[in-house]
C-alpha cells in the first residue's frame, strides 16, 4: 500500500468519490448556517476561566462592574445647546426608560434619573433633574450641584460640562447579553441620531460587539480577494484557467467542510477564527500548486505523450509524500494551539489542523479526478530556461559563499534572537487592534479627551464570617485602602460605599465641604449608611452585598494605559489593600482590567507552549520522514530563522505579541518548513541515486525552486489580503506572516543549501 494509492483509487472510482464528497458536503452544509460570530472575553477566554468566573460572581453579587457609557455632546448638533438643557435631559430620560426594560442591563444611570444628594431640613434629600416626568424647577441649582458631585463627575458628566453620559451596568459578559445591549442601544439611539446627535458608546460589552461585527464583515469580504489572488497565482503557475479553477474549487469544498464542521460542533466564530477562511484557502492551495506544477512538468519533460491520468498518477507519486509531511507539519503547528488555556486558541488549533488535513485529502482525491476530466493544458517548457539559469547561478554562488551566508545567518539569529528574548513584549491593546477608524476606538478617544473612563479594576473585599461592614474600623480600613489606591499611577478615581457616605455626611451638615469625610465614629457611619438605605436603597446595592459582609471598590483606570502598566497597577493595588486591611479579610480582583491582564498572560503562555511544541513535533516528523537527523535539522532552519527575525524585529520596533500575532511563530513553523521539505526530499532522492552533494543540490534547486518561489508568492499574497481586515492586529498578522513566508523562502534557497554544502565539506574534511 503506497500513499499515492489514494489518488490511484480515486481515479479508479471517480463516481464513488464524487458521491462521497457530495454526501459529506450535503451533510455538513447545514452546519454553515449554524456558524455564528461571537465576541467578547467570555468567548475568547472561555466561561470556565477563573477570571470570567470571578467577574460573573462579582456582577451577580453587586450588579456593577461592567459599565457601558453612552456619551454625547451638544457641540455639533442643533438638537440641544447644553448637555443638561431641557431637550438633552428629555432625551436622556427617554433613553434611560427605554434601556431599563432591556433584560441584559441591570442598572441605567443617566443625567435624567441619577440621584443628586442635596441638603434638606430633615438631613438630606435625593433629587433628580427630571422628577415625575417634569424637569426639576430648581434645575439650575441642581446642575450647579452636580458639577461638584463626585458621584456624577467623570461618570455622568465631564468636568467642563460639555459631555454627558448614561452609564449602563451589563448583567453579565455573555456574548448574547452584549448583543442584546447593543441592539437595544441601536434601536433607542436611532431616532436621536437621525436628529443629529452623535453618540459615543464605550464599554467592554459594546466594544467587543462593534469590533467583532466589523471584523466579521471585513473577513467575509476578504474571501473573494483571496480567491482571486490565489486564482491568479495558480494561473501564472499552470497557465491553465481550468487547472486554476479546479484547485480553487477543491479548496472551496475544504472550506465548506471545515465551516460545516464548525457549525455542527457549535463553536462560535470568534475573532481568531475569522482568519480561518483565509488560512484554509492560502495554505490548502499549496499542495495543489506543488501537485499541478509537478504534473505539468512531467507532461512537458517526458518524451512520450503521457495521458492526463498517467501524468496525474506520476505527479501524485512524486509529491504526495512531501505534501503529506508538509500538511502534517502545518497541522501539527496548528494543533499546538490546543495546549493553550484560552478557549479561542484551542478551537482555532483544532479546526485549523483539521482543515489542513482536509485540504491534503481533497487535493489528492478530488482534485485529480477533476483534473482528469479536463483537457490537459498545452505543453510548455516546464521550468523555463531563465528559472534554470537563475537557480544554477544561485547554486554556484552558494557553493562559493557558503561560509559567508552561514555567518550572516548566525549573526542575524543572534541579533534578532536578542530582540525576541529581551525586547519582545506581550500585550493586547484593543484600541490599537481595532484601529483608529473603529467607532469603539473613536468613542474611547472621545471619553478620554473629556476625562471620562469606563475601564475599571473591581476589588471585592470580603469580611470574615463574623464580620460586618458597619463594625468599627471596617470603613476606616476601606478608606485607607481607597486613599492608597488613589495614588497609584494611571488610576483616575476610586469609588466605593465611602463615596456615598462622605457625600451624605456633607449634606447632613448643610453641604459644608468641611464635612466631606466619614463620620468620626463607627456608630455615625452606620447611621449614615442606614440613612442612605432608607432614602434610596438602590444606591447601596452596587457597593455592598446583601449580607453586608462584602463590599466593592471600583478603581477607574485610564483607558489608554498599556497592559504592562495595568499589571503593575494590579500588583500595587493588591499590595496596598493588603497593607491596609487585616489579613483575615478576603480580597478578590476582577473587572475588565484584571481580565485583560489574565488574557495577556495566557496569550503569552500560549506562545510559550505552542512554539516549542510545534517545533518539536515538526522536528520529530522530519526526522521520521528523512530518517536523517542532519537533514531534519537543516529543514527546520527555514522555520527558525524567519520566526526569530520576525519576533525579534517586533521586539526591536516595540511591537508586542497580541491575540493574532501570537500565532505567527507556530504558523511560520508549520508552513515555512514546507519549502525545505520539498527541496531536501528532492535532494535526498538525487543523493540516493548517486549524485554528488553539489550536483544533487543544484538539480534539486532547479527542480523545486520555481514551485517554491511561486508558492511563496501565493502564500504571501494570500496573507497580505488580510490587510483588508477591519482589525489592525489581523492586518499586522497577515503582513508579518507574509514577510515571514518570504523570509522562509529566502532561507530555504540560500541558507539550507549553504548548510548542506558546509556539512558536506566538513564531513569530507573529517574523512580525509
Amino acid at each position: 500500500m503506497q500513499l499515492y494509492d489514494l489518488t490511484r483509487v480515486s481515479l479508479a472510482y471517480p463516481r464513488t468519490v464524487f458521491a462521497l464528497v457530495a454526501a459529506i458536503s450535503l451533510a455538513l452544509a447545514p452546519g454553515l448556517a449554524k456558524v455564528r460570530p461571537a465576541y467578547g472575553y467570555r468567548v475568547l477566554i472561555g466561561s470556565e476561566h477563573p477570571a470570567i468566573r470571578a467577574l460573573t460572581a462579582m456582577t451577580d453579587k453587586f450588579g456593577g462592574g461592567l459599565p457601558v457609557l453612552v456619551g454625547w455632546s451638544c457641540e455639533d448638533t442643533n438638537f440641544c445647546h447644553n448637555v443638561l438643557d431641557e431637550d438633552s435631559l428629555r432625551m436622556a430620560e427617554a433613553i434611560t426608560r427605554s434601556l431599563e426594560g432591556t433584560a441584559g442591563i441591570r442598572i441605567v444611570d443617566g443625567p435624567a434619573n441619577s440621584p443628586i444628594l442635596v441638603p434638606a431640613e430633615d438631613g438630606f434629600a435625593v433629587r433628580t433633574l427630571i422628577e415625575d416626568g417634569r424637569i426639576a424647577e430648581d434645575r439650575a441649582q441642581l446642575i450647579e450641584r452636580v458639577r461638584g458631585d463626585p458621584l456624577w463627575l467623570g461618570r455622568l458628566i465631564s468636568a467642563d460640562g460639555r459631555v454627558a453620559a448614561i452609564e449602563l451596568q451589563a448583567r453579565d459578559i455573555e456574548e448574547a447579553t452584549s448583543e442584546e445591549i447593543v441592539a437595544a442601544l441601536e434601536e433607542t439611539l436611532a431616532p436621536y441620531e437621525a436628529k443629529g446627535v452623535r453618540f459615543h458608546l464605550m464599554g467592554d460589552s459594546v466594544d467587543t460587539v462593534v469590533g467583532g461585527r466589523a471584523l466579521a464583515e471585513s473577513s467575509a469580504q476578504l474571501v473573494p480577494f483571496i480567491v482571486i489572488a490565489i486564482g491568479l497565482v495558480l494561473l501564472l503557475l499552470s497557465r491553465s484557467w481550468q487547472d486554476s479553477l479546479i484547485a480553487v474549487a477543491t479548496m472551496g469544498v475544504a472550506y465548506l467542510w471545515t465551516f460545516g464542521t464548525l457549525g455542527w460542533l457549535g463553536w462560535p466564530k470568534d475573532g481568531i477564527l475569522e482568519v480561518l477562511a483565509p488560512l484554509i484557502l492560502v495554505i490548502g492551495v499549496c499542495d495543489s500548486m506543488h501537485f499541478l506544477s509537478r504534473e505539468s512538468e512531467l507532461r512537458s519533460r517526458e518524451r512520450i505523450d503521457l495521458s492526463r491520468r498517467d501524468s496525474i498518477l506520476l505527479a501524485a507519486q512524486s509529491v504526495i509524500a512531501p505534501c503529506l509531511l508538509t500538511s502534517l507539519t502545518t497541522a501539527a503547528a496548528f494543533a499546538s494551539f490546543t495546549l493553550s488555556d484560552l478557549d479561542t486558541f484551542v478551537r482555532f488549533g483544532s479546526i485549523a489542523s483539521y482543515a489542513v488535513m482536509l485540504c491534503f485529502v481533497l487535493t489528492f482525491t478530488l482534485l485529480p479526478i477533476l483534473a482528469s476530466f479536463l483537457v490537459p493544458p498545452p505543453k510548455h517548457a516546464g521550468p523555463t530556461r531563465s528559472w534554470s539559469s537563475l537557480f544554477k547561478s544561485l547554486a554556484t554562488f552558494l557553493e562559493q559563499r557558503e561560509h559567508f551566508i552561514l555567518v550572516v545567518s548566525a549573526s542575524v539569529l543572534v541579533i534578532f534572537g536578542y530582540g525576541w528574548v529581551v525586547q519582545l513584549g506581550y500585550d493586547t491593546d484593543w484600541l490599537e487592534s481595532w484601529g483608529e477608524k473603529s467607532t469603539a476606538v473613536q468613542a474611547t478617544r472621545f471619553f478620554s479627551q473629556n476625562d471620562m473612563h469606563s475601564e475599571t479594576l473591581e476589588v471585592e473585599i470580603d469580611l470574615p464570617a463574623d464580620g460586618e461592614i458597619l463594625q468599627p474600623g471596617v470603613l476606616e480600613a476601606i478608606e485607607n485602602s481607597e486613599r492608597s489606591l488613589s495614588s497609584i499611577a494611571y488610576v483616575r478615581k476610586v469609588e466605593s460605599i465611602l463615596t456615598l457616605v462622605r457625600r451624605v455626611n456633607r449634606m447632613l451638615h448643610g453641604d459644608d465641604a468641611a464635612f466631606d469625610h466619614l463620620a468620626s465614629t463607627a456608630q455615625g457611619n452606620a447611621e449614615l449608611v442606614e440613612l442612605i438605605s432608607l432614602s434610596k436603597p438602590d444606591l447601596l446595592r452596587t457597593w455592598i452585598s446583601f449580607d453586608n459582609r462584602s463590599l466593592r471598590l471600583s478603581v477607574t483606570v485610564e483607558a489608554e494605559s498599556s497592559v504592562e502598566d495595568t499589571k503593575q497597577l494590579i500588583r500595587s493595588a493588591i499590595q496596598r489593600i493588603s497593607d491596609s486591611v487585616p489579613s483575615t479579610w478576603g480580597l478578590l480582583i476582577s473587572g475588565e482590567v484584571a481580565i485583560q491582564r489574565d488574557w495577556v498572560r495566557d496569550v503569552q503562555q500560549t506562545q510559550f507552549r505552542s512554539f516549542p511544541s510545534s517545533f518539536v513535533l515538526v522536528l520529530g516528523m522530519l526526522i521520521a520522514f528523512f530518517r536523517s537527523f542532519a537533514l531534519a535539522a537543516a529543514a527546520t532552519v527555514p522555520t527558525l530563522l524567519p520566526v526569530v527575525v520576525t519576533l525579534g524585529g517586533m521586539g526591536w520596533i516595540g511591537m508586542s505579541l497580541d491575540i493574532s500575532r501570537t500565532m505567527i511563530a507556530a504558523i511560520v513553523v508549520g508552513i515555512g518548513v514546507d519549502h525545505s521539505i520539498h527541496l531536501l526530499r528532492n535532494y535526498q532522492l538525487r543523493r540516493r541515486a548517486g549524485g554528488s552533494v553539489e550536483d544533487a543540490m543544484r538539480e534539486a534547486l532547479i527542480e523545486t525552486g520555481r514551485p517554491i518561489v511561486i508558492t511563496t508568492i501565493a502564500l504571501a499574497l494570500g496573507f497580505l489580503t488580510l490587510l483588508a481586515s477591519a482589525w489592525q492586529t489581523i492586518s499586522s498578522f497577515g503582513f508579518l506572516v507574509a514577510a515571514s513566508m518570504v523570509g522562509a523562502m529566502l532561507t530555504t534557497i540560500f541558507v539550507v543549501p549553504a548548510l548542506i554544502f558546509f556539512a558536506a565539506r566538513i564531513s569530507k574534511g573529517a574523512r580525509r
Partner: protein, 740 residues
C-alpha cells in the same frame, strides 16, 4: 529585442519620472499648508519622517493639534530649502546619467530620486495626501534601487547576461509593500512601523550586499579596474558616513540615533564614491587629483590675495564692506585675467611642487626630446622611447610592434622576454578599438577573459603609434612588478612619448623620402643641364660643320673652323664628364677649390664663347684676391651670365662685379634688359620656371645656380635693378686662401 527596447524606453523616461516624483513634493511645499515644523514630515497616520536629530518632531507628531505657523515667506523659505536639498542629492546622479553609459547610473538616479523626494518632504514640513503617496513610493522604491545597484556594481553580474530582466524583480517586490503602505497610511497605522522598519532592513541589506560585493571583488577579481572601483565604493560607502556620525556622536551619545545618522549620511554620501568609481580616470590617481586641486587652489588663493591687496591699495582700503562692490567686481575680473595669464607659467611649477612625480616626468621628457634632436635613425628613436618609458614607469617590459603587409613584427623590445608574439598585437589592436591608447587596468574581468594573450603577457598599456602619414604600429607597456596600476598622468606621459616618437619616426621617414626624391631630381637635373649646356656648343658644332664645305676654298678659315670643331667636341665631351662628375659628387666629396678670380673668369670666358660676343664688363675688387671658390660655382655664374646676356639688348653691357662683404663674397651680375615682373620674382629660382619657353628656355639655369650656391652655404638673390633690368647676386661664405 523588445525587452531591450522597453528597457531603453524606460531608461529614457527615467529622469522625467524621478523629477516628477520630486516635483510632487515640491509643489506640495508651495501649495499646501504647513502641517509641522521643517525637518519633520507628518504622515496622515500621525507618524513622522524626520531628520535623525530632530527630537521635537516626535513631540509634534504626538501632538497633532499644535498649529504650525504659516506664511508666504515661510513657504518660500521651505521651498528653497526643499529644492536645495533635492538639487544637492540629484545633481551628481543626473550628471552621471546624462554623461555616462554605465549601467549603475539608472539605479543611482532612482535611488537618489527617492531620497530627494523624502528629503524634500522632510525639509518642506508639509503633510498632504498626495505628497505622502509620493513619499511612500519613494520609500518603497529606494531599497529596490539599492538592490538594482548591487546587480551592476562593482561589476555587471553574470546573471544579467542570462536574465537581463532580473533587475526588475526588486521593483516588482516593492509593489506589494506599496499596497501595505497604502493601508498603513490610511486605516492601519499599526503597520507603519513594521513596514518602515522592513523597508529600512531591506535597504540596509541592499547596501550590505553592495559593500560585500565590493569586498569580494577586492579580494577576488582579476580586473584591477573592478578592484579599484570596488575599493572606492566600499571605502566611500563605509567610511564617508563616519565623519558626520562621529560629529553627531560627540553631541549625542544615543546608539540608535548614531546608527540612524550613519545610515542617513551613508545614503546621502554614497553617490560621491559611486560617482568617483564610475568616472574611471579617477580610480588610480585620486591622490594626485587631490594634490592637483590643492596646488591650483593655492595658486588661485595666492593670486587672489595679491590682487585684493593691489586693489585694496588702489582704493585705499582692503576691507570689503557693503560699499566696495566695485572693488570686488574689478578684483574678480582682474584675478580671472591674471590667473589665465599666469597659469601656464607658474601653475605648472606649483603643480610640480605638489606632485614631484610630474616634475620628474617633465624632466625626463625634456631629456627624451634632446635625445631625439637630430636623430636620423628610426631604430635609435624607438630605443630612446622604450628606455625612457622603462626608466619612468618601471614596467615588466615594453615593446614596439610595427605593421606591414605581412602583419605585425616586433621592432624593438626591452625586458619583454619571449612572450611577445604577433597575435598579442592583433589582440591588442582589438582591445584598442578606435581609441589611441588604452589601459587594461581599466578593463573588466569579462574583457580580460576576451583577451587571454594580453593577460598572459601582462600587457597593461596599449598605445597606437601614429604620425601624420598614418598608423605606424603599437606600443605595448607591461604591468608593474608590484601590480600597481599606472596613474592618469603616467598614461598621459606614455601617450606623449608615443606621439613624439611617432612624429620623429615620421620626420625620419620624410627625410629619407626627400633624399630619394633629391636623387631623382639630380638625375633629372643632369639631363636638363646637359641639354642646356651642351645644346649651345652642339649648336655651334653643327653650325661649323655645316659651314665646312664653304670653307674648302678658304683653307685658313677651314683650318680655324676644324680646330674649333675639335675644341667644341672636346668641350662637349668634357662637359658631359663634368656633369657626370658633378652628379656623382653630390653624393660624394665637394668640388675642388680654386682661386675666386680664376673661377669667375673661366665662367665669363665660357659665356663669351657661348654667346660669341664680348658684352661682359668685369670688375674685381681687391678683397677677393685671396679668396677661393668651389669649382662648380663657375656653372652657377655661367648660368646667371647666360640669362643676363640673353635678357640684355645687344647694345648694352652685362656687368659682373665681385667683392667681399664681411664674411661673404658677393658676385653680382646686372643686365639692362626688361627685368622680371615682381609677381614672378618669387618663382624664378624654381626648377622648370622660365619666361622663355617659346625660345627653348628650360627653366633650369637659375635653379641649378641656386642649388649650387645653397650646397656651399650661400644663396642666389634675384632683384630688379634700381634703374632698369635685373640684378642677380650670388652670396657665398668666404673661403680664405691657404696662407702657405
Amino acid at each position: 529585442v523588445s525587452g531591450h527596447e522597453t528597457t531603453e524606453r524606460i531608461r529614457r523616461r527615467l529622469p522625467l519620472a524621478v523629477l516628477l516624483l520630486v516635483a510632487i513634493v515640491l509643489v506640495d511645499v508651495v501649495f499646501s499648508k504647513r502641517a509641522s515644523m521643517p525637518g519633520c514630515w507628518l504622515m496622515p497616520n500621525r507618524y513622522a519622517l524626520h531628520i535623525p536629530f530632530l527630537d521635537a518632531c516626535a513631540e509634534h507628531a504626538a501632538n497633532t493639534a499644535a498649529a504650525a505657523p504659516d506664511s508666504i515667506a515661510l513657504r518660500a523659505r521651505d521651498f528653497v530649502r526643499a529644492t536645495s536639498g533635492a538639487a544637492l542629492l540629484l545633481f551628481v546622479p543626473l550628471v552621471l546619467f546624462v554623461r555616462t553609459t554605465t549601467a549603475a547610473a539608472s539605479p543611482l538616479l532612482i535611488f537618489y530620486g527617492c531620497l530627494a523626494t523624502l528629503v524634500s518632504g522632510v525639509l518642506g514640513g508639509r503633510s498632504s495626501w498626495i505628497a505622502s503617496y509620493a513619499g511612500l513610493v519613494a520609500l518603497c522604491i529606494a531599497p529596490a534601487a539599492l538592490f538594482h545597484l548591487s546587480f551592476v556594481l562593482p561589476k555587471r553580474r553574470g546573471i544579467l547576461e542570462l536574465i537581463p530582466q532580473i533587475t526588475r524583480v526588486p521593483y516588482l517586490c516593492a509593489a506589494p509593500l506599496f499596497v501595505v503602505g497604502l493601508y498603513a497610511l490610511d486605516s492601519k497605522p499599526l503597520l507603519w512601523t513594521p513596514l518602515v522598519s522592513l523597508l529600512g532592513a531591506i535597504a540596509a541589506s541592499g547596501w550590505a550586499i553592495l559593500m560585500l560585493s565590493c569586498w569580494y571583488a577586492i579580494r577576488e577579481s582579476r580586473s584591477r579596474f573592478e578592484r579599484a572601483r570596488a575599493r572606492f565604493v566600499l571605502c566611500g560607502g563605509v567610511l564617508l558616513p563616519v565623519a558626520p556620525t562621529a560629529l553627531h556622536g560627540v553631541v549625542a551619545l544615543d546608539v540608535s540615533r548614531v546608527i540612524a545618522v550613519y545610515f542617513w549620511s551613508g545614503a546621502v554620501l554614497l553617490q560621491l564614491s559611486i560617482a568617483l568609481a564610475i568616472a574611471r580616470h579617477n580610480l588610480f590617481d585620486i591622490a594626485t587629483d587631490v594634490r592637483l586641486v590643492l596646488a591650483r587652489g593655492i595658486h588661485v588663493a595666492f593670486a587672489s590675495a595679491v590682487l585684493i591687496a593691489v586693489f585694496g591699495a588702489m582704493f585705499g582700503s582692503i576691507s570689503f564692506g557693503p560699499h566696495h562692490n566695485a572693488e570686488i567686481f574689478l578684483g574678480a575680473v582682474a584675478a580671472a585675467l591674471v590667473l589665465t595669464a599666469l597659469q601656464p607659467r607658474y601653475g605648472a611649477a606649483l603643480e610640480s611642487v605638489f606632485i614631484p612625480e610630474l616634475e620628474r616626468l617633465r624632466v625626463r621628457r625634456l631629456k627624451f626630446e634632446r635625445e631625439l634632436d637630430g636623430c636620423a635613425d628610426a631604430g635609435i628613436a624607438v630605443d630612446c622611447a622604450l628606455r625612457c618609458i622603462r626608466e619612468v614607469l618601471d614596467p615588466r617590459g615594453v615593446a614596439v610592434l610595427s605593421r606591414d603587409t605581412r602583419g605585425f613584427r616586433v621592432v624593438a623590445a626591452l625586458d619583454a622576454g619571449d612572450k611577445l608574439r604577433p597575435d598579442v598585437a592583433e589582440e591588442a589592436l582589438r582591445a584598442l578599438g578606435d581609441q589611441d591608447s588604452r589601459s587594461l587596468a581599466l578593463a573588466s574581468e569579462a574583457e580580460l577573459d576576451a583577451f587571454p594573450e594580453l593577460s598572459e603577457c601582462d600587457v597593461e598599456l596599449i598605445v597606437r603609434l601614429r604620425s601624420l602619414r598614418g598608423e605606424l604600429g603599437l606600443l605595448l607597456v607591461g604591468a608593474r612588478p608590484n601590480e600597481s596600476p599606472y596613474r592618469g598622468f603616467e598614461i598621459a606621459f606614455v601617450d606623449a612619448i608615443a606621439a613624439q616618437t611617432g612624429a620623429v619616426l615620421a620626420h625620419i621617414e620624410l627625410r629619407q623620402e626627400l633624399l630619394r626624391k633629391e636623387r631623382a631630381a639630380t638625375t633629372g637635373r643632369i639631363a636638363i643641364g646637359i641639354a642646356h649646356d651642351m645644346g649651345k656648343e652642339l649648336d655651334w658644332l653643327s653650325w661649323l660643320v655645316a659651314r665646312l664645305p664653304e670653307r674648302l676654298d678658304q683653307p685658313g678659315k677651314l683650318a680655324r673652323d676644324i680646330a674649333l670643331v675639335g675644341k667644341f667636341t672636346k668641350d662637349v665631351v668634357e662637359g658631359l664628364r663634368g656633369f657626370i662628375h658633378d652628379a656623382l659628387r653630390e653624393s660624394a666629396a665637394p668640388s675642388p677649390l680654386c682661386a675666386a678670380r680664376e673661377v669667375i673668369e673661366l665662367a665669363v670666358a665660357r659665356a663669351v664663347r657661348l654667346h660669341g660676343d664680348d658684352r661682359i664688363a668685369l670688375t674685381f675688387d681687391d678683397s677677393i684676391r685671396a679668396l677661393r671658390l668651389h669649382e662648380d660655382v663657375q656653372r652657377a655664374i655661367l648660368n646667371l651670365l647666360d640669362n643676363a646676356l640673353r635678357a640684355s639688348p645687344l647694345s648694352s653691357l652685362v656687368r659682373l662685379s665681385a667683392k667681399r662683404v664681411d664674411d661673404q663674397i658677393e658676385i653680382a651680375i646686372e643686365d639692362r634688359g626688361n627685368g622680371i615682373p615682381d609677381e614672378l620674382l618669387a618663382n624664378v629660382l624654381e626648377a622648370g620656371f622660365t619666361t622663355r619657353a617659346a625660345e627653348g628656355g628650360t627653366g633650369v639655369g637659375l635653379a641649378v645656380a641656386s642649388e649650387i650656391a645653397a650646397s656651399h652655404g650661400g644663396r642666389v638673390e634675384i632683384a630688379p635693378h634700381p634703374r632698369a633690368g635685373t640684378r642677380a647676386v650670388i652670396s657665398l661664405p668666404v673661403i680664405e686662401s691657404d696662407p702657405l
